[in-house]
């Protein structure tokens, strides 16, 4: 079995967000880039599957659509344990553009399981995984919170609104993963980092693809009114405010 993990290169989750060019572009000066948290969990689970000899996992590839600046993030994924990496050389563009690039990578590579995260922590799209599966015309399973391999099929727990379901799906498919898929993300060990330098990282050109949407402008939220502080022995006053001022009780 060959597994492809799609990796979105995102600003560290503690980044103070700023915009430039009249609020039409994200200002990435001084930003630390990381593997999107859900993609990191997907990669972690993939490594667990591969290490368990009872699973027929032969190869793990990571892929990102992005400029050369995204390569350290791919190297990090190699250091965590992926066997090889692909970078599609393009500015990442909208979800449709990205999914089209990934579909082309999948068509060139024959993967049995393809993992995406439930969203990128920057644009919060929740779109690429589903789009990719539709372009490939293969099943997708969303909100995956656990996954194991059984008789060549994947057995998956997914969240539905108001519960959980266990489903099974034959390969190939796209799994859109969320928290729970792995407990803690893996951190690359020194040995992994050394080995990652020698692992193959292939750069492929982008294919033509149309964007369907455009991020036209960014706006910061309205600054909030300062917090009204109440003395710890005035709990009654808090209740009064919630009832009569905020009107939320």
């Amino acid at each position: 079995m060959r597994i492809l993990v799609c990796i979105s290169n995102v600003p560290d989750t503690t980044t103070k967000v700023k915009f430039s060019n009249d609020n039409t572009a994200f200002d990435d000066s001084g930003v630390q880039w990381i593997i999107n948290p859900w993609d990191e969990l997907a990669l972690t689970r993939t490594m667990e599957l591969k290490e368990d000899a009872s699973n027929p996992v032969s190869n793990v590839t990571v892929v990102t659509v992005g400029p050369a600046g995204a390569e350290p993030t791919l190297r990090k994924a190699l250091a965590i344990g992926a066997d090889d990496a692909i970078r599609v050389d393009a500015e990442s563009g909208d979800a449709h553009f990205v999914a089209a690039q990934l579909a082309s990578v999948v068509n060139d590579g024959e993967y049995d399981m393809i993992f995406c995260g439930i969203e990128s922590s920057d644009y919060n799209g929740s779109a690429v995984g589903g789009m990719l599966s539709e372009m490939l015309d293969i099943p997708s399973v969303s909100a995956v919170s656990s996954l194991r391999i059984e008789n060549g099929e994947a057995v998956i727990t997914r969240d539905i609104d108001g519960g959980k379901e266990e489903v099974s799906v034959p390969t190939p498919f796209v799994g859109v993963v969320q928290k729970g898929i792995a407990k803690e993300p893996r951190i690359a060990a020194m040995r992994g980092i050394m080995m990652a330098r020698k692992k193959p990282l292939q750069v492929v050109p982008a294919i033509e693809a149309e964007p369907l949407i455009h991020y036209q402008e960014y706006v910061m939220p309205e600054p909030k009114a300062p917090c009204k502080m109440i003395e710890a022995d005035q709990v009654k006053e808090l209740v009064n405010l919630l009832q009569n001022e905020a009107k939320v009780l």
């Binding site: 989750t13 967000v17 859900w38 979800a95 449709h96 439930i118 922590s121 920057d122 644009y123 919060n124 799209g125 929740s126 779109a127 995984g129 589903g130 789009m131 599966s133 539709e134 372009m135 099943p139 997708s140 399973v141 969303s142 909100a143 057995v155 969240d159 539905i160 609104d161 108001g162 519960g163 959980k164 379901e165 266990e166 489903v167 799906v169 859109v176 928290k179 369907l212 949407i213 991020y215 036209q216 402008e217 960014y218 706006v219 910061m220 939220p221 909030k224 917090c227 009204k228 502080m229 109440i230 710890a232 709990v235 808090l238 209740v239 405010l241 919630l242 905020a246 939320v248 009780l249």
Partner: protein
């Protein structure tokens, strides 16, 4: 230009979420000059279906012999058939697990630009430009749809219910799709019976590591019960196993937007706030006056949550009794 809205049901009933979607679609239809058709999949009684009319749907398409489980490809085909049949150019769905699963597939199938997690009505309709949250709530973006057709997933609790008092005609709809192609098979379903879901709750009482131990959750549960709300927690609390994973809110957990969010012993890390900052009113109780939660809160008490909580339960019970 007609608007199609997918109204999901839970065991035959629509929730507030579905009505929010219809309300939104109906305001949107006024802007683009058209009417709203609601699509319902699964067995729902006529009364329940026609109730959608009160929020602005003029027509309801009902596919009532749909298969039990959600197969993303099958649902994509059903909704595509409804879009084609009604000639709709805009589709509205919820930004929940279902919407996130099928909207992207529909975007490709219908060649329709997709904006997810939309927070308000469009600011222009030609071209269609809608606001959405980005960077986990740290900013908003205005998304321009570049295609003729558009798909919007609406963030929960971002649109008020608006009763228009109309009535809807109901039509049985046969999408003519083939279930033989379904490849995901459902082995087991576990519903969260009887419990108010965190994502549906108007009041959420939440505890962090400052609550010290799983044994101290009694008053949090009691407060939630008194207020008819749900309980939540920060990530370390669910990692420690003090509380179940479904309760973890924040960037990597659930994203919620209740009317009232009360945080006890939660520091207010940016990743936690990403899941709760859209709440209408936030109350924080924390021993550290410099805790970042106070920057996000509307009302705050610097003090020991373990002492404040029982008093709060008593005072709220007293206020409710009046």
């Amino acid at each position: 230009m007609s608007v199609l809205v997918y109204t999901e049901n839970w065991d035959g009933k629509f929730k507030k979420l579905s009505l929010e979607l219809v309300s939104y679609a109906s305001s949107l239809a006024k802007m683009v000059g058209g009417s709203v058709t609601a699509l319902s999949i699964g067995k729902v009684e006529q009364d329940e279906l026609s109730a959608l009319g009160a929020y602005g749907a003029t027509n309801v398409l009902s596919v009532d012999d749909a298969p039990g489980g959600l197969d993303n490809q099958l649902y994509t085909s059903i909704i595509t058939a409804a879009m084609e049949m009604t000639g709709s150019k805009v589709l509205v769905l919820a930004h929940n697990n279902t919407g996130k699963a099928i909207a992207p597939r529909l975007s490709v199938r219908l060649k329709a630009g997709l904006a997810t997690g939309v927070t308000a009505l469009p600011e222009s309709v030609d071209p269609l430009v809608v606001p959405k949250k980005v960077f986990s709530g740290k900013a908003f973006a205005k998304v321009k749809i570049l295609t003729d057709s558009a798909i919007l997933t609406l963030a929960q609790n971002s649109f008020e219910l608006t009763e228009t008092g109309g009535s809807a005609s109901i039509e049985a709809f046969d999408p003519g799709v083939d279930v033989a192609g379904v490849r995901t098979s459902i082995r087991d379903v576990q519903k969260q019976e009887g419990k108010l879901l965190l994502s549906d709750a108007e009041v959420v009482i939440s505890g962090g590591r400052g609550m010290k131990s799983t044994d101290n959750w009694g008053p949090i549960e009691e407060l939630a019960e008194v207020l008819g709300g749900a309980t939540a927690c920060s990530r370390p609390v669910s990692d420690e196993g003090w509380r179940p994973h479904e309760e973890h809110t924040g960037q990597t957990g659930k994203i919620i937007a209740p009317n009232l969010y009360m945080a006890f012993g939660i520091s207010g890390a940016i990743q936690h706030l990403a899941g709760v900052s859209s709440s209408k009113c936030i109350v924080a109780v924390n021993t550290d006056k410099d805790a970042p939660i106070f920057e996000a809160a509307d009302y705050g008490i610097v003090g020991d949550a373990l002492k404040v909580l029982p008093e709060l339960v008593t005072e709220i019970k007293a206020a409710k009794a009046q």
